[in-house]
């Protein structure tokens, strides 16, 4: 019976309607088109690069960079090669991303939980914060923080002084250990602030912008996660006499985390990518160093490949990390 049907279908169905032929044909056509396009683009690339004398080479990475980076974790000076400059930029990016992640998580969690507060005013503020920040471009917020807020800070004695922290136009000064184990606060020496730890205003503006912006998105993720926990859980806890904050901490959040963590992953990756806007506020991150390198060497393709792979690795790293966290918070059944 089956053989007859097969024989019948093989005879009567023309090849262009055959379910076995069509998929192969479609794929072959798509592959052909894509390959021709890639060949065309690569052919042009090789031809144009040859004409410009810029054929792919990585030797320039060892030449001295010739530009300085104002703020680095790794020691760097203009005499060091380009690869050291790019590495210093990458470390600067990672520094901004790490601090930004922690700050945005704290702010976002607070704002997300505030939207469940009993206090209507607090709820309103959380709502306004999220709606305000999410509807204004990050780049605009960054330049606002930098040019309007941080660059109009006063210097010298007029600077904003808190215990162990001074905020001036020349930078952010933090108390810390110096000369071994002596705790030293910021102090004014000849009208210039000195402290064990100084952060530039560029870094401050970038961090503030990233934290405030990502915080709003994380607040929404947290709010969605908490809202996904059935209301009965709250009511049961309340009827047992457990306080609001304890309910949230020990009953609701552990359940909400299952929903929150995948959302956080997305937000963390976009924070990492958004850190590339540092170039607008003059913080020398990876992108900014890459741009300078390109302007000096003209090596567009190589610089671009490096830049792209660095960000892909950074994203991948965050993803792997968050997948690990996700694995931890999932409910374990048996």
């Amino acid at each position: 019976m089956a053989d007859t049907i097969n024989a019948l279908s093989n005879e009567t169905i023309p090849w262009w309607r055959n379910r076995r032929v069509i998929p192969l044909l479609v794929q072959a056509v798509v592959a052909l088109v894509v390959l021709i396009m890639i060949a065309f683009l690569l052919g042009n690339l090789v031809r144009n690069l040859t004409a410009a004398g810029l054929l792919l080479s990585w030797r320039w990475l060892n030449q001295p960079a010739g530009f300085d980076i104002s703020e680095t974790v790794l020691p760097f000076n203009a005499g060091l090669p380009y690869w050291r400059a790019l590495l210093a930029g990458l470390v600067n990016t990672i520094r901004a991303v790490l601090v930004g992640l922690v700050g945005a998580t704290v702010l976002g969690t607070l704002a997300g939980m505030a939207s469940f507060s009993r206090n209507g005013l607090l709820r309103g503020i959380a709502r306004v914060y999220v709606e305000l920040i999410r509807n204004i471009p990050l780049l605009l917020q960054l330049v606002f923080w930098y040019f309007v807020v941080f660059l109009s800070l006063p210097n010298g004695t007029a600077a904003i002084q808190l215990p162990g922290l001074v905020l001036a136009k020349s930078g952010l000064y933090l108390a810390g250990f110096a000369d071994g184990l002596r705790w030293v606060g910021p102090q004014l020496v000849n009208d210039v602030w000195q402290a064990p730890l100084r952060l530039s205003v560029e870094f401050g503006a970038l961090l503030t912008g990233l934290i405030v912006y990502s915080g709003a998105f994380i607040a929404e993720v947290v709010r969605g996660g908490v809202a996904a926990v059935p209301k009965g859980q709250w009511e049961a806890a309340a009827s047992l006499g457990i306080s609001w904050i304890t309910t949230l901490r020990t009953i609701v959040l552990p359940q909400a985390l299952r929903v929150i963590v995948p959302g956080l992953n997305t937000q963390y990756i976009s924070l990492a990518k958004n850190s590339s806007l540092a170039v607008a506020v003059g913080y020398t991150d990876l992108y900014s160093v890459a741009e300078t390198t390109l302007n000096q060497t003209g090596r567009a393709v190589e610089v671009y490949l490096l830049l792209l792979s660095a960000y892909l690795v950074l994203d991948l790293f965050i993803s792997v990390l968050m997948n690990g966290v996700n694995h931890l918070v999932q409910i374990k059944e048996r």
Binding site: L41, N119, G120, Q141, S276, L316
Partner: protein, 409 residues
């Protein structure tokens, strides 16, 4: 409100919301004081120290960049046409009768919107110190919008449905016409893209990317869910590649490397390069939204349509995509909103979009140190555009939802 005994329920509510416990009360009072201080400080600055001349003097620059003055009537015409089309679509969307209810001509929210619109039209030209002639034009544009809204709502029921169905087609037609009006051609003087700027460039880049990323995104989403391994892996590769890279690096690719990838002289104008990069960037993100919508459609829908003899294309077009896109709509509008915001990145590659124009204005020694006023204005502008998109999306969502019977508000 608090000292009128008539509002006792409100008072009780106020007490429950703000003063339910002593700690709560302390928190509320300190928050009220804080908000009051911030508000007073801001108002003092806005009406005292701030000098808004930088916005008033440069309002044309912010709106259209260096678009030649003698050609600006084309933009006015386009604005008027857009206002008319908006009014028509708005009226049909909100006030047309539906099987489950009789349409109300002016639902409550719409009345509010019209009041805000009219007040804005009265206040803004005055605040910007526009010339009387330009003020008059704005009034006419707003009057046209409200008039079309009224007419569409009033006569929607009388209109044959074939004609009503043509209204959505107005938008693509208007878009093409707008392109001609802006760039010239067909007997109009050509205005090169390098002279477009400000809000015009921002909206143009955003709308271009939004329109074109949609078909590409849908195709990518279908590709990613396809049974054909080559299509699937190709789509996955593209989507993940784009989503892994910051937009600025892609714009960088467009500006610095596209010239190498195309034969000499074929690379488009810088603005178009950036617009295409935005398009391809947004398509990858849109594909993910559409994919989530597609996975919300039960596979039985596809199988049922196929077994009824619909072709693959018909199944997608008539059965699967309408359901999938409805589910994906909120996420897609979210993407469009962030796309509109992402156009600010054009200023980083030296284009004169809204933010780029702002930077050139502030570089002018006459307006040095006026960054707070300029950035605040831009923020308000972006906020209004994005919030309006969000509101529109929610209205459309309700309109398209087959399960809820909309109330007459």
């Amino acid at each position: 409100m608090a000292n009128r005994p008539v509002l006792a329920p409100q008072l009780r509510r106020l007490r429950r919301e703000l003063f339910s416990s002593p700690g709560d009360g302390v928190l509320s009072i300190s928050l009220i004081v804080l908000i009051g201080l911030v508000a007073i400080g801001f108002l003092r600055w806005a009406f005292g120290q701030a000098s808004w001349a930088v916005i008033q003097v440069n309002s044309t620059l912010f709106a259209v960049g260096r678009y030649p003055i003698e050609q600006q009537w084309r933009l006015w015409l386009l604005t008027a046409l857009l206002a008319a089309a908006t009014g028509l679509s708005w009226g049909l969307l909100r006030a047309s009768p539906r099987p489950d209810r009789t349409g109300t001509l002016w639902p409550r929210h719409d009345r509010l919107a019209v009041v805000i619109l009219v007040l804005g039209a009265l206040w803004l030209p005055w605040a910007l110190r526009l010339a009387a002639l330009i003020q008059l034009r704005w009034w006419l544009v707003v009057a046209l919008l409200v008039g079309c809204r009224w007419a569409a709502g009033r006569f929607a029921a009388v209109l044959p449905s074939a004609l009503r169905r043509l209204v959505p087609l107005l938008w693509p037609a208007l878009y093409l016409l707008g392109m001609v009006l802006i760039s010239g051609g067909l007997g109009l003087v050509t205005v090169p893209p390098s002279e477009w700027g400000g809000l015009l460039l921002t909206l143009l880049a955003a709308s271009f990317a939004i329109l074109l990323c949609f078909p590409i995104g849908v195709m990518l989403a279908l590709g990613r869910r396809s049974d054909l391994p080559l299509l699937r892996w190709g789509s996955v590769l593209y989507i993940e590649f784009i989503r892994g890279a910051p937009l600025i690096t892609l714009l960088f690719l467009g500006q610095n490397i596209l010239g190498f990838l195309l034969p000499g002289g074929l690379a488009p104008e810088r603005i178009w390069r950036a617009a295409w990069v935005l398009t391809f960037f947004a398509a990858a993100y849109l594909a993910e939204s559409v994919r989530s919508g597609l996975s919300a459609v039960p596979p039985g829908q596809f199988e049922a349509a196929r077994s009824l003899g619909l072709s693959y294309g018909q199944t997608l077009q008539q059965v699967v995509l309408p359901q999938a896109l409805r589910v994906a709509l909120p996420a897609m509008v979210g993407q469009f909103i962030s796309l509109l915001q992402d156009t600010t990145l054009l200023s980083l590659i030296g284009l004169l979009d809204l933010l780029g124009t702002a930077r050139t204005v502030m570089a002018n020694p006459a307006f040095l140190g006026k960054s707070a006023e300029v950035y605040l204005t831009l923020a308000v502008l972006f906020w209004c555009c994005c919030a309006a998109l969000g509101l529109g999306s929610r209205a459309l969502e309700r309109r398209l939802d087959p399960h809820t019977i909309p109330s007459a508000t």
